[in-house]
Assembly symmetry: C2
Homo-oligomer: 182 residues x 2
């Protein structure tokens, strides 16, 4: 499974691609889409949208993972964030990718081991888990994007666990004597 994580922002939008099995993510690519040179509005969104489509076409992920936001500094920044998020959501629909959202504390828990980890801890664990070369530059937004992609890859374990729980319980249920009311 290959996952594209996106950390949407109007001026800087981070992206990160990981692949592999749940719990064993491998680094594929990461970077940022910078559009601060353009005035906020249609041209910025167009740039983000086009770059995201190009990234999808290059790395061919199966799914797109996004952090679900609950807070914003003010209404205007919520609008700006919603606009940037929409570019990732639209790109996912246009390329028929599965789309997933995770709350910030779930991303932190999955990557750094606890839901209140700070940005530096998350970035450290992203670097360590993906065995990135220490000399390799990694922008904060790219690290956040890798984290949300890793979170989705990590979540892949849950269906397997549920399946094995069901498998363990099933024989016990079968061995129970059937009761036929008479």
């Amino acid at each position: 499974m290959r996952v594209l994580g996106v950390d949407p922002g109007s001026a800087v939008c981070g992206y990160g691609v990981v692949e592999g099995r749940p719990g064993d993510p491998l680094f594929v690519a990461a970077g940022t889409i910078r559009s601060a040179m353009l005035a906020p509005g249609p041209k910025r969104l167009h740039r983000i949208h086009d770059h995201l489509l190009a990234i999808i076409d290059e790395f061919l992920p199966d799914s797109l993972s996004l952090e679900r936001h609950f807070v914003a500094i003010n209404v205007q920044s919520a609008f700006r964030l919603g606009e940037a998020r929409a570019m990732a959501m639209l790109a996912a629909a246009e390329r028929n990718l599965e789309f997933f959202e995770y709350p910030p504390n779930e991303v932190k828990l999955c990557v750094a081991g606890h839901g209140h980890a700070d940005k530096a801890q998350v970035k450290y664990m992203v670097r360590r888990t993906l065995k990135l070369d220490p000399s390799r530059e990694l922008a904060d937004d790219a690290a956040d994007a890798l984290a949300v992609a890793m979170c989705h890859l990590g979540r892949g374990r849950i269906p397997n666990l549920v399946e094995s729980v069901v498998r363990i319980r099933k024989p016990a249920a079968r061995s129970r004597p059937k009761v036929h009311p008479q």
Copy 2:
């Protein structure tokens, strides 16, 4: 000049096209893009985006006009509104349309004569100004979209006024005696 007005919404997105000279708008088309049958998220945004592009390709407006929002019920609804607005902004950039935003009170002032007009008054004035057949159905979102398109058409007067002011003042400036310091 032909203007597409958009009243963005995640479940219902209104659109309205007007053309003509400033102060003399003519009705071209209006309607709604309904996507409530789809779950909020990528598929809804994809539907809004594709329909907006189809409307632009059919009616070939020169510019796209949007209401600038300042308030939202909560952060989540601001995100949803931002996402829907982004579809209109992206469509404008993709089709190289000029993009304009107007505060709600400016739209009301322009269409209904005062900045605190309610929705019914705006709708009444949209119908009256565009001479719409009273039997013709007009959804609230479509009326709002027509209003913001009419507002932009009405604003076209301002550059002309500025130009005429400059033209009046220029001869006076030229007739002033030149001062050469000696």
